[in-house]
Symmetry: C2
Subunit: 424 residues, 2 copies
Amino acid sequence: MTEQIDWLTEMTENYKTAHTKSIKLTSSEADVIRLLREHGKLSRSELAKILGYSRASMTTFVSNLIEQGILMQVGEGVSKGGRRPLTLDINGDFGYVVGYDIGATSMDIAISNFRGDILAYRGAPANVRDGATVLLGHCAKIAQVLLAELNANVEQVVSVGVGVPGPVEFARGILIAPPLMPTWENFEIKKFVNQTFPQATVVVDNDVNVMALGEQKTGAGKDAGNFIFVKIGTGIGSGIIVDGKIYRGANGVAGNIGHISVDAHGPICHCGNHGCIEAIAAGPAIAARAQQAASNGSSDILAQRLDEKPEGLTSIDVAEAAAVGDLISIGLIRQSGEKIGSVLAGLVEFFNPELILIGGGVSNIGFDFLSSIRQAVLQRANPLSTRDLRIEYSSLGELAGVTGAIWLTFDYVFGVKVRSKAKL
Amino acid sequence: MTEQIDWLTEMTENYKTAHTKSIKLTSSEADVIRLLREHGKLSRSELAKILGYSRASMTTFVSNLIEQGILMQVGEGVSKGGRRPLTLDINGDFGYVVGYDIGATSMDIAISNFRGDILAYRGAPANVRDGATVLLGHCAKIAQVLLAELNANVEQVVSVGVGVPGPVEFARGILIAPPLMPTWENFEIKKFVNQTFPQATVVVDNDVNVMALGEQKTGAGKDAGNFIFVKIGTGIGSGIIVDGKIYRGANGVAGNIGHISVDAHGPICHCGNHGCIEAIAAGPAIAARAQQAASNGSSDILAQRLDEKPEGLTSIDVAEAAAVGDLISIGLIRQSGEKIGSVLAGLVEFFNPELILIGGGVSNIGFDFLSSIRQAVLQRANPLSTRDLRIEYSSLGELAGVTGAIWLTFDYVFGVKVRSKAKL
């Protein structure tokens, strides 16, 4: 008997859609909100028609949502002969949403209204090795400053989305075996964030996942159901969107492409294997080869830069040298792009995405890089897989992560339907 | 105005769930059927609770479905104190479902009841180069024979699922630029099948996709939400399941992994690139290397087999030679497994599946093959990505394709909710 009740509760949980602390919604009401968020203003009869409810049921749903302050009437739509229908929209003033995007060396914080419009933003340098309490504390301080600038307070924050640079166990919102930030393992991020924002639903995900989501909601990925966001910086990682939603895989580590092998005889990587794409084509690999070219005299421009910067060259130096015509630098950029493109070609065969977006620090290295990636993909992948494929730079830049973090909370405050593969 | 109406119609279409010719369902009714199909018997109150409807609404939905003959009452459930609740299930006798699985050199045909239980099955040799009319005609004849054995007729067939060995444009059910079967391009499979089964909803998909779905519905993938089915035979391909559903990608060619490069300096492939996994590790590559070992005297056992089979060796000869201890054959099998494993390691990093199933002709080559694949994946992929990963042989064997074809139709007769990425 207990067992019978247990699975029933579990299944019911799995079919639930409203996860917020203070808001109780039926799945039909959540559908209404999702649809308005995707589409923008609609009338009651349009909502009823699209979602397949009677006009009467829809009137009830909408009244409940207006009463709770989640929806609002925003004026008249287009008449189809009779009285002009009243259109509805999400009430942006229902509450504030906070997004944190924590990288290995930087943090970005933004506040949006309940429609996802970003009202305030600030970036700051950071070091994840300082530990969770210091870093998340710093994020909270910045968020409070931004809220104060908006004359808002922490009680009005309905949700907080957090992106972190490591593998996340999504359901619990904790990092698992994060290589960049070992001290964060098992740290209860949600609980910590709730100390500052007691009313908020907190959602935590991997940084590249939220960047991909940000592009999908408001950036270059807006019309793309299935795409890959590739972040190239100190490391290489990717976020995967399937059917408009983040794809996380069995252990929350999907998209972890930095250690795909591109050359079995290549240099050894910090992971212990040979020829990982990260060891060959990420920022440090480009910088190391530039350093070599500066030292061995093959590039005068890089040698001159190294004289000015005894602390060492970075991929930005390579970009700048390439921009003034240094052939060695152009070659380094192309090589890196070509290697990344050859890995992406395999992923294109497997995943057949409609779009690949390239972001992260190294993506500022110039258009030779993008061009080399594109060439390598087109050369290797099947023409059918690349027929409609676009490969572009990220459109949201430094806002990709915070935007995604904010929209991530919308999906969870008003439920992406979580269907379980549980033992039914 | 026209524009306004157009998008409304389009969105409404996208939210519709029932696609069958004769059956009209609301999305709530489709939810009930989906849930019963996934879970098996449930009572009205369990259905109401899980799906979040009132008991009264559920009673209405269920009455409609019973009236249409889709559901039936199947006895009493477990009492929680009061009267025992009546449990409901899909009515298996509602109609018959036909599955075709067409391979390059074989065809498999099965008939199931409306619950997906396979009632009759037959396999036959085939050659896709004979063209669509001949091959599909042959399938139809076999299906009619099987129906006659069941005392059933074509009018009782509610749906037909078809798996074909090439890239499918899913919405139209036609093949696009199929390399193995060029004459099938643009052939209207649905229309042709409907000439035999006038009442049936026809759904067409790639053969490996339907095999993956078959395993997901009733085979080794039953509890797996995200997994890859790899078919290794004359070529190498894969089917991808995301969240329990077939993932097709932007052009319906996702999973086309045969031409992922495993060695930039490897042998040239029929696609024009170097070192494709298919050119290195599929059946013909194994057979060619065995042929060589037979000719140059390095394997006596293979040489003896070649004497008996002047038409040439196949991977089956290699398997049999390995089984009697031929070290060269064991080596060939291990090499092939190791190369396939190294490609799968990259896909494991990207996709983080919980399961990889290996099927197709070459999967009968023995457990050395599976073991080599596993070793290569574990050696290359991140421990986090492989923590819960199972790599196994297909459990349904020759029934995987027909099972998947049948279940594919269930998803479309009663709707997988198709959310559009349309220009809203």
